[in-house]
């Protein structure tokens, strides 16, 4: 009887769950906090057309045709991107309540700060409000970007992590939706990274300045730096439009062309340009590679490494790889 009751309770929740899922699926396009917000997508398309027209000598019509190239948006790889986007939303709906929350990290860090005796609670609260907010906004942005750089670098360095990250690199054509072409395990790691960074920054700042003094400089609800990144065509990172910056700027900010180079199949481009928004981390840690706009790049991985189109293979192969890695280790040890 109990089983029947719990089953019917579960079934009665299904419509809610389905509704939430459909909402989540569409909400990303309507949420100005997301990179694929329709406004940013439209702006990226305009930027791309303008770039081809003014810098590459395309006519308006041919520039439009190039930007919305059917061979890119309806390739087998792109179709897989769309399926992965839809499947990952459902997976994230199921597992996100189980993950470490940033508010738990915030509280832990805040109270851990109170155990030290070097600097007291709210001891910098007297600083000018504008300065506190600017510092908070900047530190948030820097910590977020640096942690993305580091975890991305590790994803390429450690075979166990690469097994999952190569799902993203298996894309043979790139569209803005390719940003969501990630294995759920990688999604979890990035989520944990976010919780840790957000929790640490808020915990430390709330302790030093008091929670009441803190707010972020935002535009449309997004950290002002991230907003400019989105407006400046972040969506073109995953695209076939290779906008490059001046060399000096490519040492500060990662251009779309630099990120496309990160996806290149050419061996000399491997393990370069891990940065998300800032190039300074790549510059500092020796992984920077300026763009090569004249070079025709190809994307993807060899078939024995990962499939670009087969969904089951994309989701399951990382686990099979891990299993083989573990077995090789054990055999070597024995």
């Amino acid at each position: 009887m109990d089983e029947v009751n719990s089953l019917s309770a579960l079934l009665s929740q299904l419509p809610d769950w389905g509704g939430t899922y459909l909402h989540d699926l569409s909400a990303d396009f309507l949420n100005e906090r997301k990179r694929i917000f329709w406004g940013y997508l439209a702006l990226s398309a305009v930027l791309a057309v303008l770039f081809l027209f003014s810098m590459r000598g395309y006519g308006w019509r041919s520039a439009l045709a190039r930007v919305f190239d059917k061979r890119v948006f309806w390739s087998g790889s792109a179709k897989a991107d769309y399926v992965i986007f839809a499947v990952n939303r459902a997976v994230s709906l199921l597992i996100s309540p189980m993950l470490l929350t940033q508010s738990a990290v915030t509280t832990t860090v805040f109270f851990a700060m109170s155990d030290q005796s070097v600097i007291g609670f709210q001891s910098l609260a007297g600083w000018p409000s504008g300065l506190i907010i600017a510092l908070y906004t900047l530190v948030f942005f820097l910590a977020d970007d640096l942690s993305k750089y580091l975890i991305h670098r590790w994803m390429h360095h450690w075979p166990g992590l690469w097994a999952f990250h190569k799902v993203h690199h298996s894309a043979e054509t790139m569209t803005p939706i390719t940003v969501y072409r990630v294995h759920p395990v990688e999604g979890i790691l990035y989520g944990l990274r976010g919780a840790l960074v957000v929790g640490c920054v808020i915990g430390v700042f709330a302790f030093l300045f008091g929670a009441g003094a803190l707010s972020l400089y935002t535009l449309l609800g997004v950290n002002v730096f991230a907003f400019f990144f989105n407006v400046a065509g972040a969506n073109l990172r995953h695209s076939h439009i290779n906008i490059a910056y001046w060399p000096w700027l490519e040492r500060v900010l990662i251009s779309p062309a630099q990120h496309q180079l990160h996806h290149s199949t050419a061996t000399r481009h491997f393990d370069r340009n891990f940065g998300a928004m800032l190039a300074i981390w790549d510059w500092m840690f020796g992984s920077l590679h300026l763009s090569e706009p004249e070079e025709e790049l190809t994307f993807g991985l060899k078939p024995h490494e990962a499939s670009a189109t087969r969904i089951a293979d994309i989701y399951l192969r990382p686990f099979r790889d891990l299993y083989h890695m573990a077995r090789r280790r054990l055999v070597r040890k024995s």
Binding site: Q102, G191, A211
Partner: protein
């Protein structure tokens, strides 16, 4: 076969329906079940002594604010001690005394009980939360003496508000302590106050009936409490809703059965958050337990019946303990916010007065929760350390002890920010130990709000 099954089913359904429809939604009246009783009484419910103590606590709170700064100290202390120690029968009920539009039936304590006092029922274990290494009764008397010598119960220099300290501490040291550590504990043992004997010679109620009724009286809820919405119960305690209090519609409020007193008032206060239902949970557990006893029809309770009673007692204790923790949590938040306001203005005038009042409430509830059946151990030690013997005062000093003459020593200082941090830690500790749900004045939520302002999902975006 089918017919007999059908008959059985209908019988079960009708019995269940009958049981449901006759389940009491008020605490009493309950019939006389005592075997051999030959008197005229028809209702076995009685808890006048407990209601008398509710009025003694409230009256003491009123008196604690009557000091004129020293001239009337001796006289006031004597008067306060009469409410604390007795004899109390002739004493007027100072609070709740009723007002226009809210008349109260009883005028003297003796109309409720001839012999009730507070001291005889006061928690008398060690009370380390108060400076001076004293027992609970010593602490209460110390507070009474200091209140009598103060002006209006307020000691600005040391940061004490005695009416708040005395009433909140008493709410734990008498009402909560007596209910959970005596009537719902020892008196539930099979061989103590058994149900097949009168509570005392000549009584119309059995041992277990009266023990349970007294425990209910200490909670301070009216008999019809389950029909009152939290906000309504709150207004009754504030003498603001005669219609809701006056269950029998006779135009006056009978303190014995129609009034909301301290513990029930704070349960209702937490329930106004919408996140808890302490008042109905506790009152329904009392009613459920009383029905178990009534159903035993004057026989000694079986082990199974005692087990049921203990389950109800445990529900009551847990919820009541949480009510006290919720109140302490709320006032820790008030103290934190008052300090924030004082930092923006200055530690003087009305806001400092409000801060001392809120601290008195916090401290009183922190002491109350340490006066129950359970030894809170490290939690109590930590709570006392964080809150301190006294609050941080206007010159940043705070009470650290008493000298040989009983004068408070304030030989250490703490910044306002550090004391605010202590309040955050108090809320965190209470939350961890008691699972705070109503969360009034939740200052920890400021941290959550900051974390919530940054979209977690967008942080999962990779590259």
């Amino acid at each position: 076969m089918f017919r007999s099954k059908l008959m059985t089913t209908s019988l079960v359904v009708s019995v269940a329906f009958l049981a449901q429809s006759t389940a009491a939604d008020t605490y009493g009246p309950f019939p006389i079940t005592l075997k051999g009783y030959e008197g005229d009484a028809t209702n076995s419910v009685s808890y006048g002594g407990q209601i008398a103590r509710q009025t003694l606590e409230q009256s003491l709170k009123s008196l604690a604010a009557k000091g004129d700064g020293g001239a009337n100290a001796a006289e006031l202390e004597k008067q306060m001690l009469s409410y604390f120690t007795g004899p109390t029968a002739e004493l007027p009920i100072i609070a709740p005394a009723g007002k226009d539009g809210f008349p109260i039936l009883q005028k003297t304590v003796g109309e409720l009980s001839g012999s009730a006092n507070l001291e005889g029922k006061f928690y008398n274990g060690l009370m380390p939360a108060w400076a001076g290494n004293m027992t609970g009764i010593d602490v209460a008397k110390d507070m009474i003496a200091r209140a009598a010598a103060s002006k209006g119960g307020y000691d600005a220099e040391n940061g004490f508000d005695y009416p708040q300290l005395i009433s909140k501490f008493t709410m734990g040291a008498v009402q909560y302590s007596q209910a959970v550590d005596n009537y719902l504990d020892e008196k539930l043992a099979a061989d103590v106050k058994p149900n097949n004997l009168p509570y005392s010679d000549g009584a119309s109620y059995t041992g277990k009936e009266h023990s349970w009724d007294e425990a209910f009286g200490y909670f301070g809820a009216p008999a019809h409490a389950t029909s009152l919405a939290p906000k309504v119960a709150y207004n009754v305690a504030k003498l603001a809703d005669l219609e809701a209090a006056d269950a029998n519609g006779d135009g006056v409020v009978d303190l014995k059965t129609e009034m909301v007193f301290g513990p029930a008032y704070y349960a209702a206060g937490a329930d106004t958050s919408g996140a808890t239902n302490y008042l109905p949970t506790i009152v329904n557990a009392y009613i459920g337990g009383r029905e178990v006893i009534t159903a035993a029809a004057g026989e000694a309770l079986t082990a199974e019946q005692l087990g049921e009673l203990k389950a109800y007692a445990s529900t009551i204790e847990d919820a009541w303990e949480n009510v006290l923790a919720e109140a302490a949590f709320k006032y820790a938040g008030s103290v934190y916010k008052d300090i924030a306001t004082m930092k923006d203005t200055a530690a003087e005038g009305d806001i400092y007065r409000t801060y001392v009042k809120h601290w008195g409430e916090l401290k009183g509830f922190a002491m109350a929760i340490q006066s129950g059946r359970k030894n809170l151990g490290a939690t109590a030690v930590e709570l006392n350390k964080l809150i301190g013997y006294g609050p941080v005062t206007a010159d940043n000093s705070y009470v650290t002890g008493v000298d040989a003459d009983g004068t408070f020593i304030r030989d250490r200082r703490m910044t306002w920010s550090d004391y605010q941090l202590n309040m955050l830690k108090v809320q965190k500790l209470l939350d961890e130990q008691f699972s705070i749900k109503a969360r009034s004045n939740d200052v920890l939520a400021e941290l959550d709000a900051l974390a919530g302002a940054v979209d977690a999902a967008s942080n999962a975006e990779t590259d």
